[in-house]
């Protein structure tokens, strides 16, 4: 069965996601980069699940999708709050506290 191809695709997505989280300044784009990592996770789980002939991988993938939706809901609410109070969602400007 094809396994390596799926893992490579997931690894590439994971790296793009990590790069996005570290390099992006826009909060919404950071959230989208986190979603890329989570999709890499889902590909891994489904591929490994099919390879090992167990449904545990698919089930885990479903849980990841559901929890990620809840997480992004909270995240977007927070970004909205930030926008209301600051009129900007540039994360480099969020630096009131240091040290």
């Amino acid at each position: 069965m094809l396994l390596n191809q799926f893992l490579l695709l997931a690894a590439a997505l994971f790296c793009i996601g990590v790069y996005g989280v570290l390099a992006r300044r826009n909060a919404v784009l950071v959230l989208m980069s986190v979603e890329l990592i989570l999709n890499a996770v889902n590909i891994n789980f489904v591929a490994f699940g099919a390879f090992n002939r167990t449904v545990a991988g698919e089930v885990f993938g479903l849980f990841v999708i559901a929890v990620a939706a809840a997480e992004v809901g909270v995240g977007l609410a927070m970004v909205l709050l930030l926008y209301r109070n600051r009129k900007s969602i540039d994360l480099t400007e969020v630096d009131l506290m240091k040290g």
Binding site: I37, F45, A56, E58, N85, V94
Partner: protein, 497 residues
């Protein structure tokens, strides 16, 4: 392939789930009462929350007295003495946080009933985490405890600092859990199962697959964010400073302890056979956390930021025993040391936050200089704060001393270079920590109050009881260490798979 799996309803042991059921019912009740009759019920919401937390203690005491280890859902959810002791710790720290929050939230024009509903949900996640012996259960418990905590940190909606605290905590937390999940997917691939006992079987053997190595490292790093270990600590001081103080106490104690519970279960049940993979990483995390945390705490002017850095250092002490976890000579000693440390740390840290909140009621400030001359107008608070600070520093006969002693004894009994080196680091760091804890204590006792303002601090009864409870625990566990030793001794505390 999916059609091959026939569904049979699992047998559910509801007695084992009773603490979780009580907490869920309490959270739902708070939300419903809020929706139906907020005006009438508002003053009682915090009392209902406290009663729920104490109510969830009843099944725990019954289960502990019953003494049988219970395993549910094919071993994904295990109720043993380890789980019960930590569940009790989470519920009692939650109760103390409710006592701390009661007046703060009621007087501060916050959303009140949602606050308690969120806190109950977060505590539910922590209580589930104590029993989670499956990667999926650990993940769900982690998210259940984290997502409400992100919201709690942002609770002051119009305050820019609170916004910043929340968004930093959220982004770091989500990023960390994504990395942890990627690690879990690789561990699942290498071992073929999500159940920790099967993961252990799949990972054992002379050769370890590269995917398993990356997976284990990513999972441990994901939880290192949660316990704010160096170099993944950057969010902690900002989040602690910006969040409402009761939430800070909650994050610093309960949320951090939940991360430790997960790490301990993963290492003792799941990754135990692969100490060659996780030990170097844990060594760096532990040594870096205690050294960096203490050095950065030295130059803090804000007491909450100081507590954040001291918490990073304390996380280092708690990670230290895991460095020798796979060693045959040590057995379960690291496990006992960590659990004992978690319980004691919860008491002394919550107490310190209680005093900080009590003093801030008068001074309206979190600067360390606002503690000057505290003895001249609030002698009882000064004595309590001194007890907590000296316990955090590890001075006998207070509980923090016994916690550190357990850590050192576990490290030394490994009789190898990495254990002894880590023991020396713990010792050196305790001396550095004594300096900044001692500076605060000296300025409380010896200095004059700023502007000669000697009006006494009015402390509400809930806050007084929180400080009294935590001070009593801190002193009793220090004077009678066998009291905590009784709960954490070997036979009682072996983790069931």
């Amino acid at each position: 392939m999916l059609a091959e799996v026939a569904f049979t309803a699992p047998h559910v042991d509801f007695a084992a789930l009773a603490p979780e059921i009580v907490l869920t019912a309490g959270a739902v009740l708070v939300i419903l009462l809020d929706a139906l009759a907020l005006d009438k019920i508002k003053p009682f919401i915090s009392i209902i929350t406290g009663a729920t937390l104490l109510g969830a203690m009843i099944p725990i005491l019954w289960l502990a007295n019953n003494g049988v280890d219970r395993s549910l859902f094919g071993g994904a959810f295990v109720v043993d003495n380890f789980a019960l002791l930590l569940k009790a710790m989470f519920l009692l720290s939650g109760y103390v946080v409710v006592l701390l929050a009661m007046n703060y939230i009621a007087e501060g024009d916050y959303w009140e009933s949602e606050f308690y509903a969120m806190m109950l949900s977060s505590l539910l996640g922590m209580v589930v985490m104590c029993s989670a012996r499956d990667l999926l259960t650990i993940f769900v418990a982690l998210e259940l405890l984290s997502i409400p905590a992100y919201m709690l940190a942002t609770w002051r909606k119009r305050d820019l600092k609170s916004n910043e605290a929340g968004i930093k905590y959220y982004l770091m937390g989500v990023f960390a859990s994504a990395i942890m999940l990627y690690g879990m997917s690789l561990v699942f691939g290498a071992s073929g199962s999500t159940l920790l006992t099967d993961v252990a079987k799949g990972l054992s053997g002379d050769n370890v697959r590269p995917t398993a190595v990356v997976g284990i490292l990513f999972v441990v790093i994901g939880f290192a964010f949660k316990v704010s270990a160096f170099p993944f600590h950057a969010w902690a001081p900002d989040t602690y400073e910006g969040a409402p103080t009761p939430v800070t106490a909650f994050l610093a104690v309960a949320s951090k302890a939940a991360g430790f519970v997960a790490i301990v279960q993963l290492i003792y049940v799941g990754f135990g056979t692969r100490e060659d993979v996780y030990q170097p990483l844990l060594w760096v995390l532990a040594a870096g956390s205690m050294t960096a945390g203490n050095l950065m705490a030295l130059r803090q002017k804000n007491i909450v930021r100081l507590m954040a850095y001291s918490g990073i250092a304390q996380a280092g002490y708690m990670l230290a025993p895991l460095v020798v976890a796979g060693n045959d000579k040590v057995g379960d000693k690291p496990l006992q040391a960590i659990v004992g440390y978690l319980v004691i740390y919860a008491a002394m840290n919550l107490g310190a936050f209680g005093v900080i909140m009590a003093v801030a009621r008068k001074t309206r400030s979190a600067e360390i200089s606002s503690f000057r001359g505290l003895f001249h107008y609030a002698p009882a608070l000064t004595v309590a704060m001194t007890v907590f600070l000296m316990s955090l520093a590890g001075i006998p006969p207070l509980a923090g001393w016994y916690a550190k002693f357990q850590v050192l004894s576990a490290l030394i009994s490994a009789e190898n270079a990495s254990g002894v080196a880590m023991g020396i680091l713990v010792g050196v760091n305790s001396v550095i920590a004594l300096y900044y804890y001692g500076t605060i204590a000296r300025s409380m006792w010896a200095d004059d109050a700023p502007d000669g303002d000697l009006t006494p601090v009015r402390v509400p009864p809930a806050l007084v009881s929180a400080i009294v409870i935590t001070a009593a625990v801190t002193v009793v566990f220090g004077v009678l260490p066998q009291a905590i030793g009784h709960f954490t001794n070997g036979g009682l505390l072996a983790i069931g798979g």
